[in-house]
């Protein structure tokens, strides 16, 4: 049986959340004597709903916070909260919703977000591009650190398996949360500058125009942002647990990579924690 009393109370709370407190609710509340009125006590609950919803975003979107500056970032997430259709409990769902929000607000609005004093003549990309790159970088980093699990085998064990004579039938795989992405902004530099909270210096555009980056979490769950050269990008693009080492060697030969060069690259990527598994069955 639904309770009309409960439905009304909760709808009044919900209506007050994104607007002014409803008069019915204010009349219904008897505040503890320490509060001056109903509005003051209701504000505790309404403010917590907003603050605790957006609080995880401050921890997740550190690069974006660095790009925008703290005050602008705080105003921006409050704007996001006002425009948001729901208050997800899960920080991961919230971060995805926020990344989507940043991508959808439009280039013009993104350009107006920043109040940063910077020498725009030195930058060859727009603020809008930087805002979007930072938001996506943060979202990816959060994703890889939260979703990543430690591989079952250590790097030493994987190398032993790699040295086995039947290893060509094994199928290298990245940690499932790892992501290859393309960007015109040097994401590794952006990640470093934001982590160090460097002032007055923005990352440069990638020298090749657009570069491939790998974002992954190492065995200690630390996020690593790493630019990839052409050979690495090609190899890792196929390290999804379906391609055997034999097929990777075969493919490498079309790009002037010898068997030993491909195996050396695989070994190096195992050592770095990029390749975390050598599967012997299709998964």
């Amino acid at each position: 049986m639904r309770s009309a009393q409960i439905v009304r109370l909760q709808q009044q709370f919900l209506a007050s959340l994104h607007d002014k407190p409803r008069q019915w609710l204010l009349d219904q509340i008897e505040p503890a004597p320490g509060f001056k009125d109903s509005e003051e006590v209701l504000e505790i609950y309404l403010h917590r709903a907003m603050a605790r919803t957006v609080e995880p975003l401050k921890g997740i979107y550190q690069s974006l916070q660095w790009v925008l500056g703290e005050d602008t970032f705080n105003q921006f997430i409050q704007q996001f909260y006002t425009d948001s259709l729901g208050e997800p409990l899960n920080a991961q769902a919230l971060s995805t919703e926020f990344a989507s929000y940043v991508g959808n607000i439009g280039e013009e609005q993104r350009e107006h977000l920043t109040s940063i004093n910077r020498d725009s003549s030195k930058d060859d990309y727009s603020i809008s591009t930087m805002v979007e790159a930072a938001a996506m970088l943060d979202w990816r980093i959060h994703w890889v650190t939260l979703v990543a699990n430690k591989s079952k085998a250590s790097a030493e064990e994987l190398i032993r398996n790699l040295n086995h004579r039947n290893s060509i039938w094994l199928r290298p795989r990245l940690n499932r949360a790892s992501r290859l992405c393309y960007s015109g902004v040097d994401l590794k530099e952006l990640h470093r500058l934001a982590a160090e909270k460097t002032k007055g210096s923005f990352p440069t555009k990638c020298s090749d125009g657009v570069s491939t980056f790998l974002i992954y979490a190492n065995q200690n769950h630390n996020a690593i942002v790493r630019p990839l050269d052409t050979q690495e990008a090609r190899l890792l693009n196929h390290c999804d647990g379906t391609h055997t080492i034999a097929s990777l060697i075969h493919e490498g030969k079309f790009f002037d990579q010898s068997k030993s060069q491909t195996l050396k690259l695989i070994k190096q990527l195992i050592d770095e924690g990029v390749i975390c598994d050598l599967e012997d069955k299709l998964t």
């Binding site: 409960i6 509340i29 008897e30 001056k36 919803t53 729901g86 208050e87 997800p88 409990l89």
Partner: protein, 295 residues
């Protein structure tokens, strides 16, 4: 369904000793707990974290620690008093966790915290009326049937009451436990803070509770804040348990007996050695109670 015909077993099954002292596991203390593995009777885990965190450092700690220690399960997202539907996926998780941890019990709160996909991230009080009691009994029945065990509900801290309420907080709790077969996780600090906030006598409030319903205790530190018309105590779990709350807890042990007791410290967390001192105080209270019983 009428609550009196419920299929849920009315006995609380737990492998924990009644005189058990535990500590909450949270993001802020997981590394220290993981590294040090101190001697604790149990840890409290939040099932929500198993749904929300698929991997990462905290999840790794949680998975290892929950198999190292005995656990109790304490939720904050069930929103049992909400007019929205209960989360079936969440209840299935609880059911599976209870199978995995036969020593555990599951608890949540006498409150509501969400409506559909809107989460208030807080425990909001309910109107204490017969209509709400009836609604809560039906919801508790549904939850208990889904997880296959009785649940414990914790009394919350509150800074306001509603004009439509027809009964006191304790009358409300007694009525729900009597009609639903659920039990009470008694948060002694919340009783004390509410009494201070409304200028009441905490022991007078506590002494009205149905003694048979209590199956566990929570202890935490609330924070004094200055508001527009004076001071209020806010339940931040950000400091040591107040002396007055320890006194009240000792009175509870005398009157209601020992039950597994948890020390909650989730904000402004000091080094683990400090929180363990607070847990040790719980064990000391048990010893005193035991000595009194033996003398």
């Amino acid at each position: 369904m009428n609550s009196s015909t419920t299929l849920v077993p009315q006995r609380l099954s737990t492998g924990l000793k009644r005189m058990s002292a535990g500590l909450n596991l949270c993001h802020e203390n997981s590394q220290e707990l993981f590294d040090q593995r101190p001697n604790l009777d149990f840890i409290q885990i939040h099932p929500e974290h198993l749904l929300q965190e698929q991997g990462g450092t905290y999840r790794e700690h949680l998975d290892i620690l929950r198999h190292h220690y005995q656990v109790i399960l304490h939720g904050f997202g069930l929103s049992i008093g909400s007019s929205g539907p209960l989360d079936k996926e969440y209840l299935l998780l609880i059911k599976n966790l209870l199978k995995e941890h036969p020593e555990a019990v599951f608890s949540d709160h006498f409150s509501w915290s969400s409506l559909s996909k809107h989460h208030f991230h807080d425990l909001i009080p309910l109107i204490q009326s017969d209509e709400t009691v009836q609604y809560m009994v039906e919801r508790i029945d549904e939850a208990q049937e889904a997880i296959g065990a009785p649940i414990l509900l914790e009394n919350i801290s509150s800074y306001m009451r509603y004009k439509e309420s027809e009964m006191s907080e304790i009358q409300f709790i007694n009525e729900i436990t009597k009609r639903s077969g659920c039990f009470v996780l008694l948060d002694v600090n919340n009783i004390w803070a509410n009494a201070m906030n409304f200028g009441e006598n905490p022991w007078e409030t506590l002494s009205q509770i149905n003694a048979d319903s209590i199956k566990g205790y929570h202890l935490a530190g609330c924070t004094e804040e200055q508001k527009g018309n004076g001071k209020v105590y806010i339940d931040y779990h950000g400091e040591a348990v107040h002396d007055e709350v320890w006194d009240l807890y000792k009175q509870c042990l005398e009157k209601y007996g020992a039950w597994p007791t948890l020390l909650e410290w989730e904000n402004n967390i000091p080094p683990l050695t400090r929180t363990l001192q607070e847990v040790e105080k719980i064990s000391d209270c048990f010893k005193t109670l035991q000595e009194g019983a033996n003398s």
